[in-house]
């Protein structure tokens, strides 16, 4: 039964218009650099949602998640660049990248099935580093990844001669590549949000949460913990792989240093800060943590404006302020900016429950 109530669809329509208008408004207000930042933020939304499946739903702490992003990016780059002289269409490459990443997800997951917590974190951290170091060194004896120089001139997204790397005019609007990529990334991000929400409220999602809560009890309830965990790794990796492919086409250049440990930590910070386990919170965390370091770049010009000169070097100050912001958020919102439903219910349950149990006793 689907309800077509007007208010609901009105809100939906407003949101859609806002999302379509967003890049143009930002372009006008803050400049094109910020549209680019929004594009990157959308990629991080995908990444954070992928990691959220592994860490948030299934409770498996993964510190090497960026490896799947790397696998997706490299599989796109190698098959759509002059490096091998292959130029496959991206509609074929995105599923290939996703599949590759999923395979790597299972490869990582399989040996870690019996590990939890700290031990799992160490192994995944090692896996993330292995992938990066492989990318760095697979240029000899056979040059596969071009080593630390990375891969250049990666094909932009292109459908039937319509390339996203060109600027188009539509009415009075200028559609620059950053605008065009925005819409592609938005569509992909919305799809990952949709998939995350659907999975969360399903038999599979409940099984993931059950494993997080108590693995032994989950298996006693008939959950095949091995398969369900591998599924979480594979799903998370798939999101990362797709985001990686999009990233490669967007940047046109990738190198191993785009996939460092710090990036894994960043994605994890987005998940934890936004609200681990909650799709909305994770999206919020991804957008905020992408935008915040960029916004802090204005600290230099602000000092000039208010103090007349640059007192503290903004590049140093920027990361300091960023760290401080993270610490403050965790101090005041320990469950994340937008905590998961469970945590909300927990708070609501404290007020509702005495009445309910009173009724039961009486």
């Amino acid at each position: 039964m689907r309800r077509f109530d007007l208010e609901h669809w009105g809100k939906f329509l407003l949101l859609a218009i806002a999302l379509v208008a967003l890049p143009f408004l930002i372009d006008a207000a803050l400049g094109r650099a910020w549209v680019r930042i929004i594009d990157i933020a959308l990629l991080f939304v995908m990444l954070a949602l992928g990691l959220n499946i592994v860490v948030g739903f299934a409770g498996l702490l993964d510190l090497g998640y960026i490896a799947f992003f790397a696998v997706g990016a490299y599989s796109y780059a190698l098959l759509a660049s002059p490096h091998f002289g292959v130029h496959w269409p991206f509609l074929a490459l995105l599923p290939i990248g996703a599949m590759f990443a999923a395979v790597f997800g299972v490869l990582l997951g399989a040996p870690t099935l019996k590990l939890r917590g700290d031990y799992l974190a160490i192994v995944t951290l090692g896996f993330g580093e292995i992938i990066r170091i492989f990318m760095n060194n697979l240029n000899r004896p056979v040059n596969i990844t071009n080593g630390p120089q990375g891969i250049t001139l990666i094909d932009p997204l292109q459908v039937a001669g319509f390339s996203l790397s060109k600027t188009y005019m539509l009415g009075g609007l200028t559609l620059a590549p950053v605008h065009l990529y925005y819409f592609v990334f938005l569509a992909c991000a919305l799809l990952t949000i949709f998939i995350s929400l659907r999975l969360e409220n399903s038999r599979i999602g409940r099984a993931w949460v059950a494993i997080r809560e108590d693995e032994l009890a989950a298996s006693a309830m008939g959950i095949n913990t091995r398969n369900v965990k591998l599924l979480a790794f594979a799903m998370g990796a798939t999101f990362g792989g797709v985001a990686g492919g999009l990233f490669a086409s967007f940047q046109g250049f990738i190198s191993p240093e785009s996939f460092a440990l710090l990036d894994s930590i960043m994605v994890l910070a987005m998940v934890v800060l936004g609200g681990i386990g909650n799709v909305g919170g994770v999206v919020l965390g991804a957008i905020l943590l992408t935008a915040l370091p960029e916004a802090l770049r204005y600290l230099g010009p602000m000092q000039e404006q208010w103090l007349g000169r640059v007192v503290v070097d903004p590049s140093g100050l920027r990361m300091l302020m960023f760290g401080l912001a993270l610490v403050l958020i965790m101090l005041f919102r320990p469950a994340g900016l937008w905590p998961s439903k469970t945590r909300q219910r927990e708070l609501a349950g404290l007020t509702v429950q005495p009445a309910a149990s009173g009724k039961h006793d009486g």
Binding site: S202, R203, A210, A217, T225, T342, G349, Q353
Partner: protein
């Protein structure tokens, strides 16, 4: 006894140098409430863990509904029709009571990733049935008013009931309960007894570890007594109560004579 639902034979389990179970055999007939008693450390929970696939046994056979189950994985045991509760309650603490029971339906439902994403008609119907069955089971176990409370916010006795509801959701033929009355007062134990009798009346065989002697003697059709990993007695509660070795295990040597003397007067 010809058609045993569960026949355990010759189970031995060693943890390093410690023999937790030695050559234990027992046979549970369908429709029975079968009690497993014994002093602390006798190996009752170890036997439960072997039955439900948590531990592998060193030797021995478990025949359940004409299928061998020794050294089978826990989820396969659940699928075969044995559900269990835990001595120290193991609920999914941050899920609601309803969700806990819905997880119990996992083994009897099929939706996979594709179905979950598409949420097609089959998935929607299954999801609706799962939720409805979970509500029924909460009601059956008398905790329907707490359906939306987090499991860890439930009162202790309700948590025990929720574990039973969750286990029932797997549609077991045999429900194995590890000290369900532990920590309960007399009223709660009485209510629990009512619930267990109702479960039996609905055709589910019960295997029960319990320390509450009154409950065990009143409820069980048959009992096995474990002591230091060996089965020292098996029979009806009345038979077991008179068994010299049982009295000795519980009360120490010399107690048998005292008991006989008390009987004589």
């Amino acid at each position: 006894m010809a058609e045993a639902l569960l026949a355990v034979s010759g189970i031995t389990k060693r943890f390093g140098g410690l023999t937790a179970l030695e050559d234990v055999s027992l046979s549970v007939s369908p429709g029975d409430i079968y009690g497993l008693i014994g002093p602390n450390g006798a190996g009752k929970t170890t036997l439960f863990n072997i039955l439900t696939g948590v531990y592998a046994c060193d030797t021995g056979k478990i025949l359940f509904k004409n299928k061998y189950l020794q050294n089978t994985k826990p989820h396969e045991v659940a699928s075969a029709g044995i559900a269990r509760t835990f001595q120290n309650i193991r609920l999914f603490a941050n899920m609601t009571a309803l969700e806990n029971v819905m997880v119990g339906r996992h083994v009897r439902t099929r939706t996979g990733v594709i179905g979950a994403i598409l949420r097609n008609r089959v998935t929607r119907n299954e999801e609706r049935a799962t939720e409805q069955r979970a509500h029924e089971l909460l009601d059956y176990c008398g905790i329907a008013p707490h359906a939306n409370a987090l499991a860890r916010h439930l009162a202790y006795g309700d948590q025990r009931r929720l574990e039973i509801a969750r286990a029932l959701a797997t549609e077991p033929s045999l429900l194995a309960l590890d000290e369900p009355a532990a920590g309960m007062n007399a009223t709660e134990t009485g209510a629990l007894r009512g619930l267990l009798e109702r479960i039996r009346a609905d055709g589910i065989t019960l295997l029960l570890i319990e320390h509450d002697v009154k409950l065990v003697m009143g409820l069980c059709d048959r009992l096995a007594v474990l002591d230091y990993g060996r089965k020292i007695a098996e029979g009806t509660p009345a038979e077991v109560q008179r068994d010299a070795r049982v009295i000795e295990a519980y009360l120490g040597t010399g107690a048998t004579e005292a008991a006989e003397a008390a009987d004589a007067t």
